[in-house]
Amino acid sequence: MKTKAASFSSLVAALGIALATPALAQKAAEAPGGQYAREAEQMFRTSFRADNPTYWMTRLEQDETMKTCLQYRDNPPRKIGEKLERLNKATVRYPVDGKLIGDWKEGEKLAAVGTGGHIGFIQPDPAGRLRGGNCYACHELAKKEIAYGTIGPSLREFGKIRGKDEGTIKYVYDKIYNSNAFTACTNMPRFGLHSWLTPEQITHIVAFLIDPESPVNKD
């Protein structure tokens, strides 16, 4: 019964893809791994030491968003994408004082830090090492930092271009907290959802992007 319902809904989903985006229908035909997906998951899971700390191993868990993004190679049909976006939108939490824009100087530091959170035996980070947003890995931000990556769009002069109204501030906070609330399966991490950054740290990065005094918007 359950299987029937599942296959019916996947049939509906498949029809949905075909109708909504005929160009993508062919691409979305097979999920990575094809008929071996389940076996591949099993193989991956058993690739690690049995005596690893539990919290390390929880990093292999996938929530619904991760599973779905894998299935569609990060390019889900719009209907499914919208569902994931709603799901992720509901996870956003705000600082207790309700203030969404903090100190751009703190944000500037966090944007440059790419360390923290490495585990394992070969080259782990020392406990308590600062985890940053590592924004420069993927985005252009302040003009003076030219060692920036291009996986994400340029955010140079973000505040100058987009303004500093409440709506924009909230959008930036929400986007950093949970990027998938706006674009399902985006490359950008969900910094708040995973507690990689605290709500307070996110407000500092918001300020780095929006504050007119921030080097993102000045010089």
Binding site: P32, G33, G34, Q35, Y36, A37, E39, A40, E41, M43, F44, S47, F48, R49, N52, W56, M57, R59, L60, E61, Q62, T65, M66, C69, L70, R73, D74, G114, G117, H118, I119, G120, F121, I122, Q123, Y136, A137, C138, K144, E145, I146, A147, Y148, G149, T150, I151, N180, N187, M188, P189, R190, H194, S195, W196
Partner: protein, 271 residues
Amino acid sequence: MFHRFIKTLASAACFAAFAGPALAQDSKVADELAKYREALADGNPADLLEVKGEGLWSEKRGPRSASLEQCDMGLGPGKLDGAYAQLPKYFKDTGKVMDVESRLVHCMVTLQGFKPEEVTKNWYSRPGTESDIEALVTFIGAKSNGKPINVPATHPEEAKMVKMGEYIFYRRSGPQDFSCAICHGQDGKRIRLQDLGNLTTKEGAGVAMKTWPSYRVSQGAVWTMQRRLIDCMRQARWPEPNYLADSIIALETYLQKTATGTVMETPGIKR
């Protein structure tokens, strides 16, 4: 060797031109470049390891006092020319798809009588601890220099490993939502100043695969493909897969199939 050296110089010059404007502001890049030049002064340091590996290959070692000269890397016992370029592949004697490193360890165990945990203890080098595996893989790799990568994965077990590697390539998890694909699934991107290859295309996978094993200037050591991929997972903030884990061999099979046809230039030298 000389030809390779010239190529290395040319790519270093490109690197320098690209990174040039960054120098004034980013001393880290300057340090890297200095190390780069230092390394280039006497050619690729991996060449020394290649010579060491050649010695280890023919030396009688282990409880059975045997050399590795009868080791079958997929082209028949002792046949090494082009062997690296056609791995991973399915081996009848073990019933498994094996990469160069798992096959090498298999030979060290079956021919020389070493215990698996003994030979894999130093699967990568650390300051003060050398790795026989690194040396042997550098030697075996160099025997494929100039040969096209050839992993068509026509055997069903190989085709299955390609699909399983593809699955792992797109699988997202961890506190940064990473997968291999988020950095290596598009053309023309870079992380900070580092160019990223699109490993889903022949060109991207080819550029990535043809130069391993490779001397890494930033690490001061030769890295094998196992080391490279295990470190990718570390950077994704996942736990490290075990050395020679099937999931690493699956990823290698997926990448080598995609890169098939690309001419090997190994050992390489990288950032």
